[in-house]
Symmetry: C2
Subunit: 214 residues, 2 copies
């Protein structure tokens, strides 16, 4: 199927559709109407129809969407029909938490190694994936086909390590360090800034309190 | 200072401004022009001027912003001038990672306890904060003034636990479980869906590859 150009706003909503469709598949649901999906996802049915029309996967009126088909098509758009080898830099709590998400592997993200500077972690394995020391990183990248690196290290080291990764062929960085990375244009960066998210929560708490006072 | 109504889009950018201004403060920078901040943040100077004008903290032309003042004002908007007591439900790797972020405490988020069902974690402490068993949760909430609960547990348990938290007075949930929570309107929820973020990265990798082929 040839995909037409899909807007950024739709793209940003796709992982959520994919998640809900995956849950429906697990529950054995084969078809779902935009109205039922709308109730589940707390989005308007018309938004859902508009978004999913991009995939040509809309069923006939009153017949609903084919869950499996849409799940697969959205997965393809998201690149989940391919395998992505990745490594984690920083085998502390957060790195280990990411290494333990079996669901990433089911989506095609294959963890090949973790790296750390802490010698106490040397030789350790997480779900049979080995923790290596940082001085083995460049060699490892030369000998393995790694596409993505997750950065779960403090911000003081993140910029330096990101530069090393990019110089050694990494094309995508999943950044958890508390800093933004400025990298060449052909490197994809997706940042998860946990404290930004916590501040958003705190902002919403303040607003909620104010509106209660009124 | 009385704050006028600030748009959602501006609000969503505030944590990032706060982070950059905090970094500047640490570096001892007292004033910065919108142009210099623009270069650092990779946002247009006019966007910065528009955003920061909301806080009345704009310096005279050619004189720049007062870093400390803006940092403080944005912090107030984000509710960071107040203390927020929080607990973490789920003392696995991710819960422990959150517990170890000393920077949250500097922003006024005070971790009071972690809870888990795993008896091997009983009596353990992380940065002198105690891990308690889940059957102590309701009592603990009755006797402590807790505002926020971070949920770092599997999605199969998340909905049930969130309901217990809300029934016992929690008004804000920082949700890391791989599911959306449907809660009463006066409860604030901020979700961090790690796999959604990984899929966004994977989507961008696919697009990048296609554009390279062209």
């Amino acid at each position: 199927m040839e995909h037409r150009k899909i807007s950024r706003a739709v793209i940003s909503r796709l992982p959520r559709y994919h998640r809900y469709l995956g849950d429906l598949l697990e529950e054995g649901v084969e078809r779902i109407s935009s109205n039922d999906l709308s109730k589940k996802m707390h989005v308007t049915a018309s938004q859902i129809r508009q978004d999913l029309n991009n995939f040509g996967g809309f069923g006939q009126q009153g017949y609903g969407y084919n869950v499996k088909y849409l799940y697969t098509e959205i997965g393809k758009i998201l690149g989940l029909d391919k395998t992505h080898n990745f490594i984690i830099i920083g085998a502390g709590n957060l790195g280990q938490a990411l290494a333990n998400y079996a669901s990433f592997e089911r989506s095609g993200f294959i963890l090949k190694s973790l790296f750390d500077v802490n010698p106490r972690l040397e030789g350790m394995s997480i779900r049979s994936v080995q923790v290596r020391m940082m001085d083995e990183l460049v060699d490892f990248l030369a000998n393995n086909d790694i596409e993505i690196a997750a950065l779960t290290i403090p911000k003081t080291k993140a910029v330096e390590v990101a530069d090393i990764l990019v110089a050694n062929g990494i094309k995508a960085i999943w950044n958890f360090a508390h800093t933004d990375l400025t990298l060449p244009k052909d490197v994809v960066v997706e940042s998860v800034h946990l404290s930004d998210s916590l501040m958003q929560l705190s902002y919403n708490i303040s607003r909620r309190k104010e509106s209660r006072k009124k």
